[in-house]
Amino acid sequence: VIGLVLSMAEDMRRSGVQVSQGEILDAFEALSRIAPGDRATLYLILKATLVKNWRDFDVFESSFKMATRPLPQPSTAREPETRDVIFRGTRITLDPRERKALAMLPRETRSSLLGVVERAERLPSGGNLLPAVRLFLRDSLNKVAEGTLGSKTQEPPKGVYYKDLMSLEGDEMERAEEAVAVLARHLARAVSRRSFRGPGRAGLDFRSTFRRSLRYGGVPLELSPKRDRRRVHRVVLLCDVSGSMDRYSGFTVALMHGMARCLKGLKVFVFSEDMTPVPGHLFSARPGSTLSRLSSASLGWGQGTNLKGALEKLLKEYPESLSRRDTVMLLSDGKCLDLPGAARALQEVSSRVGRVVWLNPVPKEYWAYFKGVDVRSCCQMHECSTLNHLESVAKALFVP
């Protein structure tokens, strides 16, 4: 069981879930005090102790399945493979551990491994391939020997929360949309948060306190706290729906939909070559039907990107949406025409509003490979290529 818990924790960490030592110790303690009679009880004990967030349940489940799956039976026809491998007449000597690993491999995996050696043998004998083949074979067998019969050579599956939005497939997109709805609520709360410090934290209202003290002969028996002003920030959401953002259309719509449902004063615009406001009634349905409604509303989906034009139109035609109380959220990959012009327009928008928040769905490591809008002087660009990133953005923007 110790091995099982440790291997699960390692798998979960590799998938992006943070499992601390304390949680592992909790799992051990719980297992030592509640004997897990069956697989279901073991599952529930580990679930309650190792996972502390519902969003990580899918990672936990796949790790649990992987860790508790029945071990593959050792191959019965192992005799020929336990011998050393011969490559072009030269014997590649395997140590006992490597031989054992080779013998224990399932038949298909062993055939595919030795097939690579056979294919290398058939290559034209220009250079000396023996060192490379030896290295490949030993490296593969060592990896097998370190893990449990080859299971460790596989990458643990990533949970929806940690997967690149671009690589979501099948029912993952549906689950991601549900998660985006929750995260959009957090994000909406973070960007539109009222400045509210709670009663009494803003200090004492002396005028009111003195006035109240009159009824007690001047003794300040009733203190009157100053009321903090509540400021609600409005949000303008500007989404790029150009061709380069096509692959993120599901995410874009889920974000628009989620935010529109929990922020009453939200103004949503989509832009590609032109910018168009999105009417609120389009968000009354589920995200899936919203996507089809938006597509049929001919809002310029899949065209080129003119960020400069969109921002200039926003400045010119919707100046009432841009005040110091407002936050502009921009969802775009930053690939657009006239980059300096777009940067200037963004600077202008930034000077009018409280803050500009740019969400970029392209992974950060790719940002250096293409020229994007220089945003350094006017806003911060947040990576938003996974749902985990979106949650981090919501946390980062949340100013108490």
Partner: protein, 286 residues
């Protein structure tokens, strides 16, 4: 408390649940850790704490969280008026000698009350996600060491560590520090069979037929319709109870449409449902 006793206790309190709920609760009790319960509104998070307090026969001390909640409301407050009066009543120099920051002038709030109780109690920190992050950080000391610090009095350690249950609706992400200190329980909407069991256990006088109809209808409403707020378990119970009290034993009854306010809490949702004639029976048939 053994696992079997806990199962039986929950059943006795008519809290219908499976091992997916009982086991995390048991682990929290065995390890002496706080229990963090998450789930959508109305799935029975607070009820877990209430049922547990009954099972363990502990007093329930509840702290309802809200934005702006601070330690003065949650932990303690000095009785300012009493302090002023004490200083005024005491003659001359004696007023300044008397210690107005002593136990006598302390007003206990739920957290301090739970910590200082001679017997253990169940402390329910309800909707912790609604409180500010500062308050969440303040809670960490209580959750990990069962103690609180009052500057004027020093550190107060729990005489009998309370059983702590925190609930959250996920309106805000809780910090990892808080999550790590707790045993985690996520309560999802129950499936049709469990929902039926809950109805039969919680709504006296409901017929099996009506329970089936209510469950199927709600399943259909949740799945088929795009609502601003899908009906939860507690709303399902309210609706069933309404139907029983009005003597409606069949959802095909036209009067059923007048009771939809028990499950739908938005005007748009009500309109949406009312626009489809005989939705209850249609969904039910499906």
């Amino acid at each position: 408390v053994t696992l079997d006793e806990l199962r039986a206790g929950f059943q006795r309190c008519r809290y219908v649940c499976g091992d997916e709920v009982v086991l995390p609760v048991h682990i929290a009790l065995v390890l002496g850790r706080p229990l963090l319960v998450e789930g959508g509104p109305g799935v029975g998070k607070t009820e877990v704490a209430k049922a547990l307090s009954q099972v363990l026969n502990l007093e329930l001390v509840r702290l309802q969280c809200y934005q702006g909640l601070d330690d003065a409301k949650a932990l303690y407050e000095w009785n300012y008026q009493k302090q002023i009066l004490a200083m005024q009543v005491a003659p001359g120099e004696e007023a300044w000698r008397s210690d107005v920051f002593s136990e006598e002038f302390l007003l206990e709030r739920p957290l301090l009350k739970a910590i200082r109780k001679a017997d253990s109690c169940l402390l329910l920190v309800d909707e912790v996600d609604r409180a500010d992050e500062e308050f969440e950080a303040f809670l960490l000391e209580v959750l990990s060491d069962f103690q609180v610090s009052v500057p004027e009095l020093g550190t107060i350690k729990a005489k009998a560590p309370p059983v702590i249950v925190l609930t959250s609706n996920s309106t805000r992400q809780l910090s990892d520090a808080l999550r790590r200190r707790c045993i985690y329980l996520f309560i999802d909407y129950p499936g049709p069979d469990r929902q039926r069991e809950i109805l039969l256990a919680k709504v006296p006088g409901i017929s099996r037929r009506l329970a089936d109809q209510v469950v199927l209808t709600l399943e259909g409403i949740r799945k088929e319709l795009d609502l601003r707020k899908a009906p939860s378990t507690s709303e399902c119970l309210d609706w069933a109870e309404t139907l029983v009290r009005l003597g409606l034993d069949d959802l095909a009854d036209p009067r059923v449409s007048q009771t939809l306010g028990a499950i739908l809490k938005h005007r748009d949702d009500l309109r949406h449902l009312e626009a489809i004639p005989g939705i209850a029976s249609k969904v039910c048939m499906r």
